[in-house]
Assembly symmetry: C2
Homo-oligomer: 217 residues x 2
Amino acid sequence: MPVASTRVAQQERSRATQARLLEATVECLVEHGWSGTTTTVVAARAGVSRGAQLHHYPTRAALVTAAVTHLTERRAAELRAEAAALPAGPRRLDRVVDLLAAAFTGPLFVAALELWVAARTDTELRDALVPLEARVGREMHRLTVELLGVDERRPGVRETVQATLDLLRGLGVANLLSDDSARRTVLLHTWKRQLAALLPPDDGPPRSGAGPGSEQP
Amino acid sequence: MPVASTRVAQQERSRATQARLLEATVECLVEHGWSGTTTTVVAARAGVSRGAQLHHYPTRAALVTAAVTHLTERRAAELRAEAAALPAGPRRLDRVVDLLAAAFTGPLFVAALELWVAARTDTELRDALVPLEARVGREMHRLTVELLGVDERRPGVRETVQATLDLLRGLGVANLLSDDSARRTVLLHTWKRQLAALLPPDDGPPRSGAGPGSEQP
């Protein structure tokens, strides 16, 4: 079936071109910020013609939202694989928090923050990002619940997972201009102890009493 | 003493001009972001001549760092006054957290975030902001300790105050593109209960045992 195999080869080339464009976009955002991430610069960096770039992603907003979506999915898959390789036991929670903290101080977080801040004052970008923000937020929450191996139906677990992600986002911002890793390590050390107390593992015994933090949203 | 009184009047005019420029700078950052905050736009908004603007703040970096410094000091003074007006009692901690959360979702936070993100890829701005970031961080920490009325020499208090500020920073970012207040209210409700348990007031009994979180940085 020469027609079908040609089509398959074309689709594969398309996917490879798209992947190069999306990775170049995130690299550009990290290196030059939103203002320096033009479609021309990204196409050149990816080694893709302007025509091909415009064919796949007709606008700058389309390009950057596709980049964040694609890289978030890839990073989530990597996090799942890294977490799956962790040994079981009491230190597992600590290592999962370390993996998440690395994600919130890595290039994808920086690229996303560039977009989030730019979108505040750029209507086209904002319209493209708001639905993506909600989706990424939900995915990140679900992934964290899964990696921590906790049961969200238990009282307080949902808020504790949310607080962990908001804390990590705050720590990511604190790391933007200077290396905040020493302070972050100390702070997360304490946080891990609190998490261990607040988040009984899925198969563990339930906390005694509902107590504070039992409110469901 | 006509010469002295003329000098005093000139100094007052200078201070008024500076204040107008600094407030216009923060307004511009909130409305147009870093890219739209040029010295020309700020001077026009403040109703100040280009010459006067350049006399007081010769560079864009000097203007925006002075603006963040000035407004942070003013906002800190306002927070102290608002906290001083709070009634004593068990709900005081909750109201202090509400005041801090309002600061981290207000215009000054947004303006500062614009600068922090822009400084990542702008060497001149970065050189100006890094020392300011450290100072603002220390001031904010000291202010929070003071408003919460806690004793930082007690084990775990320092980390808990830090975690609160990092959490609030994360919540501020989550509020950039959409109104996150409903989720934030629920999350902070739980956080306040945890804070009340972790942070005994200055004159309260010490926590029983050091336990987790007793590490000093």
